[in-house]
Symmetry: C2
Subunit: 202 residues, 2 copies
């Protein structure tokens, strides 16, 4: 069986990232990478599902042991991707989804060049704005902050491998495109360097 692909799926607020990823995971071929964090669980959050909640000492020792594929510090807490778990999923043949941001994506690409970086986008900034306002759940300040943040998130978009547009804000079309990317990557000569030898093997 062939190894799974490590997919980094990033996207600004309103890209429908969570819904698209949930759709992929629901199919059984994709597994969500659960991040480790040093922050306290919020009500309803389950250890090992939403995050691996670990101590700062544990987190730092994991960084030192090279067991974090990427990490970042935010508001005094660490967030990162445990490496062993990620590798185990890939070895099982499942594709791993990491829902992380541009900085983390670039950290991973350096350590694990086989990772596939996908940026999920609404069809346009205008549509993104409409979606965020349409939710009606956030203050104007928060909407503006999210929109502003999108400019930073896209500053480095050229380091990504693929752009996938989420046209309808739902899940199926973008999820299908991500599946197509996985299938194509698995057929790429880059991932099959020994094709000739294998072909003539008995």
């Amino acid at each position: 069986m062939s190894k799974g692909l490590m997919l980094i799926i990033s996207g600004p607020a309103g890209s429908g990232k969570g819904t698209v990823n949930a759709h992929l995971i629901g199919s059984g071929d994709f597994v969500y990478s659960v991040s480790a964090t040093t922050r306290m669980p919020r009500p309803g959050e389950v250890d090992g599902v939403n995050y691996h909640f670990i101590t700062k000492e544990d987190f730092i020792s994991r960084i030192e042991n090279g067991d974090m594929l990427e990490y970042t510090e935010y508001c005094g807490n660490f967030y990162g991707t445990p490496k062993k778990e990620a590798i185990a999923v890939l070895e099982s043949g499942k594709n791993l989804i990491l829902e992380i941001e541009v900085d983390g994506a670039n950290q991973i690409k350096e350590k694990y060049p086989d990772a596939v970086l996908i940026m999920l986008l609404p069809p346009s900034f205008k549509t993104q704005e409409q979606r965020l306002r349409g939710r009606g759940t956030e203050s104007e300040d928060k909407v503006l902050a999210r929109l502003e943040r999108t400019r930073e998130e896209l500053a480095d978009v050229s380091s990504y491998d693929y752009i996938v547009y989420n046209y309808d804000g739902k899940d199926t079309e973008a999820a299908d495109r991500i599946r197509a990317i996985v299938d194509a990557e698995k057929s790429s000569i880059r991932r099959n360097p020994n094709v000739r030898d294998r072909y003539f093997e008995d």
Copy 2:
């Protein structure tokens, strides 16, 4: 509307290339590139369908005018891919399928780096052999010559972009994989260098 992709689909005898390509073309999104040749039509061959049958003078002047994307000479006759027709198909948004061999594929990749080179293969050499013999339509000599030729055809396989296996010798699975490759390529950052500017456009 986005431009179509130029797909070069090569494959040894028994790869099911013709069937897979016919399946793609039947869907309406793909157009077959009709080669030009200086050889005489065989009974049943239709000008403009099987080939563009042209004179040697015409062929040579097209080479000189840069209107052949690739060409080759075989048994005293020229075979080549007319450029104008190819470009017109791509501009219309349809994907163009060129069913050509390794040499021609490399010629095209040089002149038109946006071309996508796909090698279609039976799952193994052994299966290829079984398929060719199973047809029962060719002499042992011819079968052996085709099998031997496969070694040459795969010598340069690393210059291809993708390997697609035709597992069942039919059409749908391999055709679906080729569609996935087209979708993924169209989403690649390489083909969408201005994604950021376009995103923030009004």
